[in-house]
């Protein structure tokens, strides 16, 4: 099947029900998107499909044919994504970093749809798990982005 990922077209030989995550990681070698649980519980595998955040570990690859998939590898090609990355660095969000690809994708999706989210909207959107406990730093980074306080 033909996939559009990060503005490139790929021919992929995979079963229709293979999770998008494993096609991205093993077939395409894009390992920035992480496997955490395989059950849509943790959000480490978050990617954008047509600008919406989805959990790639439970998304059948056939479901994204004809859609535009964005992974963390292309995040800085996106204007909002680039801002999110700089806020993440500015706030020194990451600890182990394993969940942060997914966190950055989730924040990017939120801000693309809602450029100035309220605290409640941030809380509703930023639900990915982080075992290192970077939640307050994540919140502060998104808050800055929401209020335009970050160093662009």
């Amino acid at each position: 099947m033909e996939l559009r990922i990060n503005q490139k077209t790929y021919q992929v030989d995979a079963d229709a029900d293979t999770p998008l995550l494993w096609v991205i990681r093993d077939d395409l070698g894009l390992t920035g998107t992480k496997y955490g649980c395989g059950l849509a519980q943790c959000g480490a595998c978050s990617v954008l499909v047509d600008g919406n955040v989805v959990r790639a570990c439970v998304t059948p690859v056939a479901g994204v044919v004809g859609r535009e998939v964005t992974t963390i590898e292309a995040i800085e090609a996106d204007e909002v994504g680039k801002r999110v990355v700089s806020a993440w660095v500015e706030h020194q969000v990451a600890q182990c970093g394993y969940c942060q690809s997914g966190q950055v994708m989730a924040a990017t999706a939120l801000l693309k749809h809602t450029p100035a989210p309220t605290v409640e909207q941030i809380d509703a959107a930023m639900v990915n798990l982080c075992r290192c406990g970077t939640y307050n730093a994540i919140h502060a980074a998104v808050q800055d982005l929401a209020t335009g306080k970050e160093h662009a």
Partner: protein, 745 residues
């Protein structure tokens, strides 16, 4: 000792990674390399290591300075989020006179050269990395600077005494000439490492980077998916593997009922039987996982000669708690001062209570994996998460019969660890990956699915602690006794009780600083059926909860405010008095409540302290009740690690430790029924979600005392502070965790 001869080793030495390959290729041309690292750096370092070499003086084993002046440091410590790579760049950079921002830090291979801790160990754990290696790593940077100065003297033809350095440059002020470190590294290669006693360290008053909130060296890579963990690696010709473990540890494979069908499944390369597991090797991990889960295995009960800790078919974590509570001894004393029995018998008021905790999992977000490759010469390359490379290599040598120097062990970034990646028998994928790579004659990367990880993760121990205490006529505690029925993680890993008590069993009950004249802290050793391991802050994670919550009970019984009581009991301890006052001040002054907050919620506060891993912490928690469950609004934490290297990372570590502390307090629990874990994923094993995180306020108190740890010490006081606040708010004194087992009103 020059670069070209090292380059041919690279295709075997490094996993395929385009950006890294480019990086290495660029450094191959004209690079002035002091030591080159994995895996050849290890043997070179070993060759260079004289028997009398002083710890942490073999500069070439640690440092490479590139033509552009960037510095590659091979760190003795693993980076798993705690910021140790950044700390090492700060410490070495300070004395080398090189900006930490110019550092690239990677984990060093196994080898004696990297044993730099004052206790003679090389592990990443026990919050030891910085505090145990600080002077040695400073001196390492100073030695490298001396070598660069000497090289500069030769190149500029001036006496070395006329030279000085600026960050990344050797400077001859008299002539206005200077040379970048990158220009000098080649010549510095020829320099002998100076006498360690000949270098002087920088005056701490002149520090530019130590003690400053220097940015993490890995922040950008970890925000853009570029950081690579074990699970991400790939080598040429690699196959993927997945396993299905026996439902209970110790069971063995009797037979496979549908092997032929599974072998015929799409993408399957081969099906394998392993000790206590079956495996599928495939071209894609997803195929391997699907196929291995389809295998119908006849599992056989463990035999009497099983070499692992066999999990009984009737094991229940709840029933085991009752079993622990029924244990009568014998108990061995860890602390016994004064006359506890006498004080108790003559006391005006006696208080007794029994506490317990729960099993918890590590639940780090990166599932364990291992990539194994046998090379044409029979040597083995292995990439795996670990907190102790030399111990893992020794274990692999034992398992494979390979000489240690034929095992090239690589330690990628850890996607969280919290104690998960010590050497635990049957709890890591590398023996399986090695067996599979051997069997198929190709490199194999084995990833444990989240479900398989929950099945084989080692658990944080449980304890049932019986307290007795005596109060005097003023309501002040004069005696305290704690007898814990438990098995510590160290004695669990050893499989037996040692001659001495396992300090990880009682830490947090033992070692308290309160002036209570009569005290007895004892353990009833109970060998349990579950595999145990270290979990962030280890024994303190449970024991400080028990002790500090019980201390609040004593305060209540004696009619004393718990904050004032602690101040009183610490009256002769200025360091802890200062710390306790600091946390009160941070929270706006001690205010126990209950009171009504601005949003109309009823709230109360609790206080607790802990002194783990050479540091001291004091916590105040503010809670309310929301739909029957505890909501933690604020955690104020004052921490005194003596002195620090990076205040921003300390604050981040406090945040992280608070999160894990709240998680075990509020909702986290590994429950076993019929010998099996109820939860095999995050759906039934909840970890703290963002919605339950508290606002965290940190005060770092630098007393100037001996440097302590920072990764773990902020955790243990969280649980008792929260539980004490809940007791004050609701009148419900909970003596167990997690609080989600209770409903509050």
């Amino acid at each position: 000792m020059n670069t070209p001869e090292l380059i041919p080793g690279l295709p075997l030495g490094e996993p395929i990674n385009l950006s890294r390959r480019r990086f290495l290729a660029s450094t191959a041309v004209g690079a002035l390399v002091i030591g080159f690292g994995l895996p050849l750096g290890a043997s070179r370092a070993q060759a260079a290591a004289g028997a009398s070499a002083e710890r942490g003086t073999q500069v070439p084993a640690f440092l490479e300075i590139r033509p552009d002046g960037s510095v590659r440091l091979l760190s003795p410590f693993m980076e798993g989020g705690q910021g140790t790579h950044t700390a090492m760049a700060q410490i070495v950079g300070e004395e080398l006179d090189a900006d930490p921002a110019t550092f690239i830090v990677e984990a060093a291979p196994p080898g004696d050269a990297y044993v730099v801790m004052e206790n003679g160990m090389r592990i990443t754990g026990g919050s030891m990395s910085v505090r145990m290696s600080y002077p040695t790593m400073r001196r390492l940077g100073a030695l490298a600077r001396a070598m660069l100065l000497q090289a500069g003297a030769e190149q500029l033809g001036v006496p070395v005494a006329q030279l000085t350095t600026q960050p990344g440059r050797v400077v001859h002020a008299a002539s206005g000439r200077s040379l970048g470190y990158g220009e000098l590294a080649g010549r510095a290669l020829d320099m002998p490492v100076p006498d360690p006693a000949s270098v002087t360290l920088r005056d701490p008053n002149q520090f530019r980077w130590i003690g400053k909130p220097v940015k993490r060296v890995d922040a950008y890579d970890k925000s853009t998916g570029k950081a690579q963990y074990s699970i991400d690696l790939k080598v040429d010709g690699m196959l993927h593997a997945a396993v299905q473990h026996a439902p209970r540890l110790g069971m063995t494979v009797g037979g496979l009922r549908n092997q032929a069908q599974v072998e015929a499944m799409k993408g399957v390369h081969s099906v394998h039987q392993l000790p206590g597991a079956v495996a599928v090797v495939a071209e894609r991990w997803w195929h391997a996982k699907r196929a291995v889960e389809a295998i119908q295995v006849d599992w056989q009960e463990p035999t009497a000669d099983s070499t692992v800790r066999a999990m009984p078919a009737d094991f229940s974590s709840d029933a085991y708690r009752d079993f622990l509570a029924a244990q009568q001894g014998p108990a061995r004393d860890d602390e016994n001062e004064g006359d506890v029995a006498g004080a108790l018998s003559s006391a005006k008021t006696k208080v007794e209570a029994t506490y317990h905790n729960q099993y918890v999992n590590h639940a780090q977000l990166e599932p364990p994996s291992a990539l194994a490759r046998f090379n044409p010469d029979g040597s083995l390359d292995i990439w795996l998460p670990n907190q102790a490379p030399d111990m893992f290599r020794a274990d692999i040598a034992k398992r494979t019969g390979l000489a240690p120097e034929r095992i090239h062990l690589h330690s990628p970034l850890l996607g969280g660890f919290f104690g998960r990646h010590f050497l635990y028998d049957s709890a890591s994928p590398y023996p399986q990956a090695i067996a599979l790579a051997k069997a198929v004659g190709r490199p194999v990367k084995l990833i444990w699915s989240r479900e398989e990880e929950f099945l084989r993760d080692v658990l944080r121990p449980v304890a049932v602690v019986k307290f007795r205490a005596a109060l005097d006529a003023d309501g002040l505690p004069v005696a305290i006794e704690a007898v814990s029925a438990t098995e510590g993680p160290t004695e669990a890993i050893a499989g037996k009780q040692g001659d001495k008590l396992d300090p990880t069993a009682l830490e947090g009950l033992s070692g308290k600083s309160y002036a209570i004249p009569n005290k007895r802290i004892a353990q009833i050793y109970v060998k349990g059926p579950a595999m145990l391991g270290y979990w962030r802050s280890v024994g303190n994670s449970l024991n400080d909860f028990f002790y500090e919550a019980f201390l609040d009970e004593l305060a209540d019984k004696g009619g004393r405010d718990p904050y004032d009581l602690r101040l009183h009991l610490l009256r002769d301890n200025p360091r802890l008095t200062t710390l306790l006052k600091a946390v009160a001040e941070l929270s706006g002054g001690w205010k126990r409540g209950p009171y009504t907050a601005e949003d109309g919620t009823r709230r109360a506060r609790g206080v607790a302290m802990a002194s783990p891993f050479g540091s001291h912490a004091a916590v105040i928690a503010e809670v309310s009740i929301d739909k029957g469950q505890v909501k933690v609004h604020h955690i104020w934490e004052a921490i005194d690690p003596g002195s620090i290297v990076n205040p921003a990372i300390v604050e981040a570590q406090v945040n992280g430790a608070v999160a894990l502390g709240l998680s075990q307090t509020l909702l986290e629990e590994a429950v076993y029924v019929d010998g099996k874990p109820r939860a095999r994923n995050y759906d039934l094993y909840p970890i703290l979600p963002p919605s339950r995180m508290a606002q965290v306020h940190v005060k770092i108190v630098e007393s100037g005392e001996k440097m302590g740890g920072i990764g773990e010490p902020p955790l243990p006081a969280v649980a008792p502070a929260v539980v004490n606040a809940v007791a004050q708010l609701t009148g419900q004194r909970v003596r167990s965790l997690p609080l989600s087992r209770h409903t509050f009103s």
